[in-house]
Amino acid sequence: MASSLHVVITCLKLLLLPSYYSTDFEVHRNWLATTYSLPVSQWYSAKHSEWTIDYPPLFAWFEYFLAQIAAFVDYDMLSIHNHNYSSDATIFFQRFSVIITDFVFYYGSRKCAQSIVLLMKSTKNKKKKYLDESKISVFVIELLLTANVTLLLIDHVHFQYNGFLFGILLISISHILKGENYRSAVWFTILLNFKHIYLYLAPAYFVYLLRHFCFKKKIRFTLIRLINLGLIVLSVTAISFGPFIFNGQISQVFKQLFPFKRGLSHAYWAPNFWALYNTADIGAKVIYKDYDLIKNNNSVSMTRGLVQEFEHTVLPSITPQITFILTIVFMLPCLYKLWKSNSNPIDFVRCLVLCGLTSFMFGWHVHEKALLLAVIPLTLLIFTSTNDCSMFSMLSIISTYSVFPLLFKPFEFITKSLLLIVNVSFLYNTDRFKSLNRIEKLYLISLGPLLLLTDVAWMVLRFDQKYPFLPLMLTSFHNSTGVFYCWIKYYLYYICQ
């Protein structure tokens, strides 16, 4: 059954092949060309395109490997002089590479679903009908992971390679759940070397491994384990960064990886704390009758991911340092709680979710996709308690909705809204909404009118020429209140349990 689930999901992805793709498609095509045509030493300093590689080295190697295959499909896509090149073969190859690498994600979700259900079995007292329940639980968790609509929209419409990265994350989590901490550390380090956004989750890993692995029986500190873990992390990182250190490129690599020149918020504000802050700023501006600045923002094209800064006029401007400090400060309580807890891996997963959420709330230049960092681990917990379950149903829907503005082409309107509706009714039919209270339900229902207002009414009333930025602002404000609420509620639940 489960394997036929994968076939069905893969078929769905194949059907999405001719969908709209964003500039990320060109970004990744350009990386294929860069890694194929240029020597290693120039990968991070190539200037032939505005899209220089800004992922860690393992991802560059991954693109290099893909490019070797791409050479058989369409050689022209590997030329660094072809800008915005998108032949049918290129589209097919790139889309297909996402679909194929997603099998890592299937493997990870299978492993994780099995180990979390096994873990729940050992904590629960044995029931008679346990066998039935566990099989269904594994299936449902696997289904919710592999058919995650946000991931589907981001990877297979918008175009990115998040699937297999989350697969690696899930493999690493599954090893922690099974108590195989060294393996988990290896996988997580590999993941960090693919995409450094997962650094947001690193504090939870660090605290958990330090407290519940390096301290034997909770009292005696075993140095040897810490050294082993350190060796693992260092050796994996050395392999990936080694060639660049050798070439003296390391500073250039880091400049690419941490671009603080970008603004506080992305062109379309991710629904986090700063979206609320920006809205408050604009609100204050409107009160001061200063419309000019809003007009200036109208020209901002939200489809481009390029640098553009957003100056606050009324409220004080935010620097990267402030966001960094806020993130750390708000992570500390949950890390302390993890330190104090008995070594239950489920607590670790919850802390992982909170780390993801907190950094999403306060991080510098966060993308809306980063909400998946919290949603994917949270999926594992839907059967552990009603609180986790209600939080999952709410956050997963908000996360799906929050990527809608990325897919703004007319053909994608039905795709995205139908996928959301199917997702909601699946969750409804499996009774996932029972645990929500009235306000939360009302909040989720209000997403419907919001979608109609921003996507349909706005076009019918021809407001899209006059105020193109307002629907986006409305969406990110609305979603950020939801995420903010979830963050507070889940945080309190975690601290007070």
Partner: protein, 504 residues
């Protein structure tokens, strides 16, 4: 025994769970989702000058119908070149094009400009066209399917499938999705009207049945494939009334039937009946004898015989007569049986048999006409899910050459795989018959043949001498299957014993 039951349940745990989760509403949304996903793909004749394909034909009809007066729709003129996708469907299609054209004129006027808009293509136009199919599908076909199965399950209760399952199998059937949303046609209108007419027959609403079926006939003349069972069912029906009640009751029913059909026809043909020249021109356009006995590679008998003996040498008039005679002979048993026992389940089987006979033996058959067989088979599927889904897989497969030409290979493979998996999970929940394993083996072998042929078509180059080798193999392979299915369905209709009191 109880242990066996337990293990059976344990094995099918997930299908049982899924059955609870997937209710009719969710099925509807998923069906619409798949329809939309196929819409993203290419349509027939995309950017293929000078003739394009069915997509352009539909657009051209909008252009013609909104720009010219009704009297000129079917006539050749300087503004209406009949050789370039001239209107060759009955009036209701023309009215539908007219309505669509009005909307298009409002939103995208340059797409329906007379003469200048030929071969108009744009992303936005494609979106509007896809919406136009989705809307009529949501308004006609999908409600009709729901209505039919609601009525069906009121009458028959020894079904193998539950109502939700068969609705899922019907709405996810790849053939109609691929043709309507990929290739581009409005089959959902004529087939939807047809399904609705059968549903209203099951609900014993005679007048409504006549009106709906006349409308279906007036949307696409191919609905004639289904006309004979309606005719013989109602003749048998009237005769039963005459025997059981009185002559006058029977006469009254008969006159109601005739009147409702005639009035519907009159209303729909209103702009054309004033002038006999108009009427004959429309009829001439609808039944074009000058075209060949089949087009491209169709999985019917004539295409099969054509391999051995070139039928194109025979003149069209003679060929049409031969087709007519063979078709009549092949539909005779099923029609006579229906006349003798006009029961609803026999009526469904007769619909399958007649339409399949027409597909295999009649004149001027398109490969898409297999949909006219597939829909009755779906309607009969709750009674014999195994054979019906086997048949349905082959119907989709028989259209493969067409779908490859339209660049719809990926949706074809995806939807067929999904359909197979959905059916397999449903099968686990059905009451298992004792000795189906041999039949299963046979079915799997036949489907494996399809897979191998698909694979060959995609990878192996045909020899220079026979460039159409693989399409020919596909049509011969499906034709043999269809012929055997025809015998099977005829057999099951004739062997079906209906207790006298349950007749209608």
């Amino acid at each position: 025994m109880s242990l066996y039951c337990d293990t059976m349940i344990y094995k099918n745990l997930i299908p049982i769970y899924l059955k609870k989760v997937f209710n009719e509403k969710l099925i509807l949304m998923i069906a619409v989702l798949f329809r939309w996903f196929v819409s993203l793909h290419d349509y027939s004749g995309k950017s293929k000058t000078p003739m394009y394909g069915d997509y352009e034909a539909q657009r051209h009809w909008m252009e013609v119908t909104i720009s010219l007066p009704t009297t000129q729709w079917y006539f050749n003129s300087s503004d209406n070149d009949l050789l370039y996708w001239g209107l060759d469907y009955p009036p209701l299609t023309a009215y539908h094009s007219y309505l669509n054209g009005l909307v298009f004129k409002k939103i995208l006027p340059e797409s329906v400009q007379l003469n200048t808009s030929r071969g108009f293509e744009s992303k936005f136009h494609k979106l509007l066209m896809r919406y136009s199919v989705l809307i009529v599908d949501l308004l006609i076909f999908i409600p009709a399917v729901y209505w039919f199965f609601r009525q069906f399950f009121k009458i028959k209760n020894n079904n193998q499938l539950s109502q939700t399952m068969i609705i899922a199998l019907t709405l996810l059937y790849p053939g109609i999705i691929l043709i309507d949303y990929g290739h581009f046609q409005y089959n959902c209108v004529s087939l939807g009207l047809f399904v609705a007419s059968v549903a209203s027959m099951f609900a014993n609403k005679t007048i409504l049945t006549c009106i709906l079926f006349s409308m279906a006939l007036n949307y696409k003349q191919m609905e004639l494939y289904h006309a004979l069972p309606f005719f013989f069912y109602y003749i048998g029906f009237v005769y039963e009334i005459y025997k059981k009640r009185s002559f006058f009751k029977a006469l009254k029913t008969l006159s109601i039937l005739v009147l409702s059909v005639t009035i519907t026809f009159l209303l729909l043909w209103l702009p054309f009946i004033s002038d006999p020249k108009q009427m004959f021109q429309v009829i001439h356009r609808i039944f074009p004898l000058e075209r060949g006995v089949f087009e491209d590679k169709v999985s019917n008998i004539w295409c099969l015989i054509n391999v051995l003996y070139k039928l194109r040498d025979i003149n069209n008039q003679t060929m049409a007569t031969i087709c007519l005679l063979t078709t009549l002979i092949s539909v005779l048993p099923t029609c006579l049986d229906l006349l003798k026992n006009p029961s609803k389940i026999k009526f469904l089987l007769s619909l399958i048999n007649c339409s399949l006979s027409f597909f295999l033996f009649s004149f001027q058959v398109h490969e898409k006409s297999i949909l006219l067989v597939a829909i009755p088979v779906l309607m009969y599927a709750p009674q014999n899910a195994f054979v019906c889904t086997w048949f349905l897989s082959l119907t989709t497969f028989s259209m493969l050459p067409l779908l490859i030409r339209d660049n719809l290979l990926i949706p074809f493979i995806s939807l067929s795989l999904i359909y197979f998996i959905v059916y397999n999970n449903i099968e686990k929940l059905m009451l298992q018959n004792k000795n189906t394993s041999k039949l299963h083996l046979l079915r799997n072998l036949s489907l494996l043949g399809c897979v191998i042929l698909t694979f060959c078509t995609l990878t192996l180059k045909p020899p220079q001498k026979y460039p159409h080798l693989w399409p020919l193999f596909i049509s011969v392979y499906s034709c043999v299957h269809f012929f055997l299915f025809l015998i099977y369905f005829n057999f099951s209709q004739l062997m079906l014993n209906i207790p006298k009191k349950k007749l209608y």
